[in-house]
């Protein structure tokens, strides 16, 4: 949830204010999609919506037929232009409690404002549209740009709307802020001060474009987008249930990084993850990508039942896949038809059936995560070849051996036995990744109320949700009679006529660069989700994305080169009053960085950051005893040393049941479920982590040491140097004053207590340089800690 979040229309009306997105309380035309459907959905669909089981009075208000058809009373539910003849209006205003809708027990009363809205909608002719996200996006011509206005299509949509609301766009951000914003958004790392200085010296459009290109080409671009994607697909290094044992699937994480860095088209990215193993002659990367289907939680708990956990995994895959590509809450249809959207329980289980061929176990045993692919290094491959060759040699010697030569036979057999053992052990040491392997599909039944023990439900085959357009042309399944496969599912998702995939993804990209989605509910494009603030822009971008060949970098470039992106993020009082949630984009947004990037900032500024891309997950320092309550088996966290200790946050070993406390303190999710948006918090826990976690203290010490070596001049210019390293900008005088005083006091203190200075200088495993006096280093460490704790250092503005 974004905490910039706006209350829903209902609450807004209830409290007497109104959203800039909603119809005015006056006579403004009411739009069904924006004003009416959300209201009907929230207050009526529970009993008069898609779920057949709980539908009352055989009345549904989620379809055209239902809304305008005759009700049991004889009058139509809604009679366009005739409020008096509309049964719905009669019932929502009925005096008598027995008649009044919604019933009190539903606990969803309509406010006077909402009732008035419905009445005016009927008066105005009750216009009706199908739900916005279920019809394929159509590219509208962007509104014309005036003379001297930005011709950029994004700006034309955004600014036309601002103009109609009488709001002015913010001025461009200053070049320092902009260079930092861009670097953080595209790579998750702060820009090198030299880059900032270079751009600030000549912030021309051409130089800006060059900076964008440089960052898009950075190997860290993929890391930044991977942080987001890994939340969606719930990537983690442990199985999640009970013993929460480690699982080998980090190569999938590297696949994602590489896919974004190499700009793999998103449709191919989709196919490879859902069905990499089903592609013709799949490459190793495609097989690793198919590990997507293995990211669900699994158990090794004694007494767990195979069937139960296969059912849990099936449901988990449906929830996640629907969340990732459709922004649909299909998980709601596990036990009953969806209450708000047209997904049926049959849709849920038919969707689950797509994954029924993925080789799987309900209950895994003793760290066997098959099927996996082995990923030997060149050396390991050579050794494997050697072992295999020697075995073949022995086999052939044995085969041709004289029967009488018992002595030699015994010796050869003994060697062979040892060799096999060695090979098994050696293979166990080779990195591997869990992958999808297609096997004859497990039976999939509709489970009544989701109950896996109830086998009375109908058998289902893979089938796409019926109310969404079927795939056609190249995306259509090969043969109509054959059982649909995961590849068919992927092809359907990326078919040109698919209404959701492109919209869902560009909306999430928008969120990454503007702080909130155009459609605010990143994980719900259904009836309960808020209508997009700029539906035509969202559709334009979705079509552009698809027609670009699902070119992710092209869309990112498009977004960040808009004037809208480059605006200042400092709100004016007028903007705060008129559009507190910034839904109209008259300014840029400001936010605290994600957990992993909070770590990255400190590492980058300190110079400790090891910029290697990929590899096994790593273990930074973690409080001792944190894993005390893990069991089966008991484990201890052994912090890595050397390069592995100073890797970017996204490589931190992701233990679902005991996520690293520093990540947890900054709201990283456990990745048990698909997460489209992290809920940011602001708690003492994050303050304590940033202040006292040895990782951050070590970074402060390293930054201090860098300063003492690299920064020229007096204390003041050295403080300014450190400030720039961390925030990209020059400090103001008052800021220098605060830090100068802190330095002076700490100098005094550490001059008087060299042992304390030495203790502080020894936090972390990196050695402090012997030639730097501990008291001076410790005093500067205090300054560095203060700067690393400043909000601006971990914020994107």
């Amino acid at each position: 949830m974004t905490l910039r979040g706006l209350a829903t229309l209902g609450a807004l009306l209830a409290c007497g204010t109104h959203s800039v997105l909603a119809a005015d309380a006056g006579g403004a035309p009411i739009q069904f999609q924006r004003d009416i459907r959300p209201l009907l959905s929230n207050h009526c669909y529970q009993c008069h919506g898609p779920d057949q089981e709980t539908r009352e009075a055989d009345l549904r208000l989620d379809t055209r037929e239902g809304l305008f058809g005759e009700t049991a009373s004889g009058s139509p539910a809604i009679a366009p232009g005739k409020p008096a003849d509309s049964e719905v209006l009669r019932r929502i205003t009925a005096e008598h409690a027995d008649e009044r809708m919604p019933p009190a027990a539903a606990n969803k009363p309509l406010s006077d404002g909402q009732i008035d809205l419905l009445r005016r909608w009927v008066e105005q002719g009750a216009d009706y549209h199908e739900h916005w996200s279920y019809a394929a996006p159509v590219r509208a011509e962007p509104p014309a740009a005036g003379t001297g206005e930005s011709p950029h299509p994004v700006d034309r949509f955004i600014r036309a709307r601002l103009a109609s609301e009488g709001l002015e766009p913010a001025p461009p951000a200053d070049p320092v802020t902009l260079a930092r914003r861009l670097a953080l958004d595209l790579t998750g790392l702060p820009p090198p001060p030299a880059t900032v200085a270079r751009y600030a010296a000549d912030p021309s459009a051409a130089n800006y474009a060059a900076l964008v290109d440089e960052l898009l080409a950075s190997p860290h671009f993929g890391e930044r987008l991977a942080i987001y994607w890994l939340d969606l697909v719930r990537y983690a290094d442990s199985c999640g249930y009970h013993s929460d044992v480690e699982r080998p699937i980090w190569p999938y994480r590297d696949y994602v990084i590489n896919a974004f860095s190499s700009n793999l088209p998103f449709d191919q990215f989709t196919r490879e993850q859902l069905a990499g193993d089903l592609l013709p002659d799949p490459t190793l990367a495609q097989r690793i990508a198919s590990g997507y289907n293995r990211l669900n939680k699994t158990t090794e708990e004694g007494g767990a039942q195979e069937g139960e956990y296969l059912a849990k995994s099936a449901a988990d895959r449906v929830r996640t896949t629907a969340g990732v590509w459709l922004a649909a809450t299909l998980g709601c249809a596990e036990c009953h038809d969806h209450k708000f959207d047209p997904y049926t329980t049959r849709d849920f289980y038919s969707f689950a059936a797509f994954f029924a061929d993925v080789q799987d176990q309900g209950v895994y045993k003793a760290a066997n995560h098959d099927p996996v692919v082995l990923l030997p290094s060149a050396e390991q491959s050579a050794r494997l070849a050697e072992l295999t060759a020697r075995r073949q040699e022995l086999d052939s010697q044995l085969a041709t051996l004289d029967a009488a030569d018992a002595e030699t036979r015994k010796s050869l057999e003994s060697e062979l036995k040892d060799l096999k053992k060695e090979q098994t052990q050696f293979e166990a040491s080779i990195p591997r990744s869990m992958v999808s392997v297609s096997v004859p599909p497990r039976e999939t039944r509709i489970l009544p109320r989701g109950n896996w023990l109830d086998a009375s439900g109908e058998l289902v085959e893979p089938r796409l949700p019926g109310f969404l357009p079927a795939a056609a042309g190249d995306s259509a399944p090969a043969a109509e009679t054959a059982r649909l496969t995961r590849l068919d599912l992927a092809n359907w998702l990326t078919a040109p006529e698919h209404p959701l995939t492109a919209r869902v993804f560009v909306n999430r990209l928008w969120k990454l660069y503007f702080g909130a989605g155009l459609a605010k509910n990143l994980d719900d494009f259904g009836a309960q989700g808020e209508l997009p603030s700029h539906p035509e822009l969202l559709d334009w971008l979705a079509v552009e994305f698809r027609e670009s060949g699902w070119n992710v970098k092209q869309i990112v470039r498009l977004l960040v080169t808009s004037a809208t992106y480059q605006q200042a993020s400092v709100p004016t009082p007028e903007q705060l009053r008129r559009d507190p949630q910034n839904r109209l984009l008259a300014r840029q947004a400001r936010w605290r960085l994600d957990a992993e990037m909070v770590r990255d900032q400190a590492l980058a500024a300190s110079g400790l950051l090891v910029r290697t891309i990929g590899g096994p997950s790593v273990k930074p320092y973690q409080p001792e005893g944190y894993w005390e309550f893990l069991n089966f088996p008991k484990r201890t966290w052994k912090p890595d040393s050397g390069d592995a200790q100073h890797r970017r946050g996204l490589y931190t070993h992701w233990q679902r049941t005991f996520l690293h406390p520093s990540l947890l303190a900054f709201d990283a999710p456990s990745r048990e479920e698909c997460t489209a948006e992290r809920a940011p918090s602001n708690t003492p826990k994050s303050a304590l982590a940033l202040l006292n976690d040895p990782s951050f203290v070590e970074c402060a010490r390293a930054l201090a040491a860098r300063l003492l070596r690299e920064a020229p001049g007096d204390d003041r210019s050295r403080i300014a140097w450190a400030w720039r390293e961390c925030t990209s900008r020059d400090p103001h005088d008052d800021e220098l004053g605060v830090l100068g005083e802190l330095l002076a006091h700490n100098r005094e203190r550490y001059a008087a207590d060299a042992d304390a200075a030495t203790s502080l200088a020894q936090v972390g495993e990196t050695r402090w340089p012997d030639d730097l006096p501990a008291p001076e280093l410790a005093a500067w460490t205090a300054v560095a800690r203060a700067i690393l704790n400043v909000h601006e250092c971990v914020a994107r503005n």
């Binding site: 905490l3 979040g5 209350a7 502080l760 909000h791």
Partner: protein
């Protein structure tokens, strides 16, 4: 991604800042959130208040309890050896269990085994004036029987530990939902100055059987803002992660450093007036106070010997006894929801032996906590809940050593005490062999509804909009168990 009909954490600081501490309804709070820009996931802006409630209008009615202490006997204590005497099962000892009980039922570790009835291993006796029947093996708990309401008809949805714990804490086995402590904090906030409002501590017997892993998911805030997450207190090193200042940094230095950070944030924010930054400044204050207040809380040197004896506490050793004593200290300091796990109740084999180990470590501290709270007049407004995530089978499990019992979800016992619950009573019943809860059945959702009710919360009205739907701790069910209310 989530539309919210009600203001949430977002609005706490702003609501307080704008509207003072008056408890205003929904509309006013929403308005405040809009006025403020609504971007601040605030903990208390007012530094003298632990955590402000996220929503107005609570409690819904006069509460009977101010706080909850939930004693989680992880692994699942056997109801046959604690609170549910079953002579009927004794009579069937050694005989195959009738299929009428087991047909179509899920089975855990006994999958594929012969299912044979196992007589209760211990004697029961009547305790207190009320004459509650409780095992002889929990004499201290027996000694406070007149405070207890034993519920014998609990049932749950999950037969394995991990998901059953998840049901016990969140009302469902689907992960990602908020735990009950988070819900309560979200609804009521916390009066704790300088302490988290929701604290979890865990203990392990030195010689118990296969201690249960206890995942952080059990106190997670799920889709609620993460400020409502429980804070786990550790018995090793820092009680709270990163609580100690770095080596070589004095308290005064740390204070000055935090002051510098606050000044720097404040300077920058003069022009921006970003409420998120204001909140952050308050959080640094709270963090610093916790650096002193939490060690003080954990230090029991000021507790007299007779109080230590009441709990059987030997010092700050991370034992259940120590944790129970801490629970009282937290209760005194206004912590809203306190959860203590003891990990050793999974008695698949040698039940008698391992049960006695758990009894040794949990019996006296549990009773001591009840007695101590009672003496201090705090039992009236402290609701204590004691029990596991499920019960155990009437069937013997013998494939792993001496006689034990397997996981069982169709019936189990818990007790409640204090907080407006009637003492000295039992509620609900199982069938003659303790397989199914049959009379006055209480689902975990009903337990939650009751718990919220005692805190003055209508469980149907404590909702949070997520993915387009109003979620509750009790999902779509839950009935308050009224007959047990005092």
């Amino acid at each position: 991604m989530r539309a919210q009909p009600q203001p949430t954490a977002t609005d706490c600081l702003s609501r307080r800042a704008f509207l003072g501490r008056t408890s205003l309804g929904l509309g006013a709070a929403s308005l405040a959130s809009l006025l403020s820009g609504g971007s601040s996931p605030a903990l208390a802006g007012n530094s003298s208040v632990g955590i402000a409630p996220a929503i107005g209008g609570l409690p819904h009615f006069a509460p009977r309890a101010k706080r909850v202490i939930f004693l989680c006997m992880a692994g699942g204590p056997s109801h046959f050896e604690t609170f549910d005497p079953k002579p009927g099962l004794a009579a069937m000892h050694g005989r195959p269990i009738p299929e009428s009980f087991t047909a179509g039922q899920p089975i855990a570790q006994l999958q594929g085994q012969k299912l044979v009835c196992q007589a209760p291993l211990f004697n029961f006796r009547k305790w207190g004036e009320s004459g509650l029947e409780i095992t002889e093996e929990l004499p201290e708990i027996g000694g406070v029987a007149d405070h207890l309401c034993i519920v014998r008809s609990l049932h749950t949805d999950q037969i394995n530990h991990d998901p059953a714990h998840t049901v016990m804490n969140t009302g469902t086995s689907i992960s990602g939902r908020p735990s009950m402590g988070s819900w309560i904090l979200y609804g009521l906030g916390s009066e704790a100055d300088n302490y988290p409002g929701f604290v979890v501590s865990t203990s392990t017997s030195k010689d118990g059987r296969n201690p249960q892993p206890i995942a952080t998911r059990q106190w997670h805030s799920g889709f609620l803002p993460s400020r409502y997450q429980g804070v786990a207190f550790s018995s090793h090193g820092d009680p709270v992660h990163y609580l100690s200042s770095p080596a070589g940094v004095t308290r005064q230095q740390q204070q000055e450093l935090i002051g510098a950070v606050q000044k720097l944030d404040g300077l920058r924010n003069q022009a921006l007036a970003n409420p998120e930054v204001d909140t952050r400044i308050a959080q640094y204050e709270m963090a610093f106070r916790m650096q002193t207040s939490v060690p003080e809380l954990m230090d029991i040197a000021d507790e007299p010997q007779h109080v230590l004896d009441l709990y059987g506490a030997k010092g700050a050793d991370g034992s259940f006894a120590y944790n129970c004593l801490l629970a009282r200290r937290m209760a005194e300091r206004g912590v809203r929801f306190i959860q203590l796990y003891h990990r050793d109740w999974d008695h698949h084999n040698d039940l008698a032996k391992f049960f006695r180990i758990c009894a040794r470590d949990c019996d006296r501290p549990t009773a001591g906590l009840i007695r101590d709270l009672n003496q201090r007049g705090m039992l009236d407004d402290t609701l204590i809940v004691w029990g596991g995530e499920f019960g155990r089978t009437p069937m013997a499990q013998t494939n792993k050593g001496g006689v034990g019992r397997d996981h069982h979800m169709r019936a189990f016992s818990m007790f409640l005490a204090g907080g407006g619950i009637r003492g000295g009573m039992t509620y609900g019943a199982t069938d003659e062999i303790g397989y199914h809860a049959v009379e006055n059945r209480v689902h975990v959702n009903d337990l939650h509804a009751t718990l919220l009710h005692q805190l003055g919360i209508d469980h149907k009205r404590l909702v949070y909009r997520y993915q387009g739907r109003d979620f509750r701790l009790t999902d779509v069910t839950g009935e308050v168990v009224r007959p047990i209310l005092a």
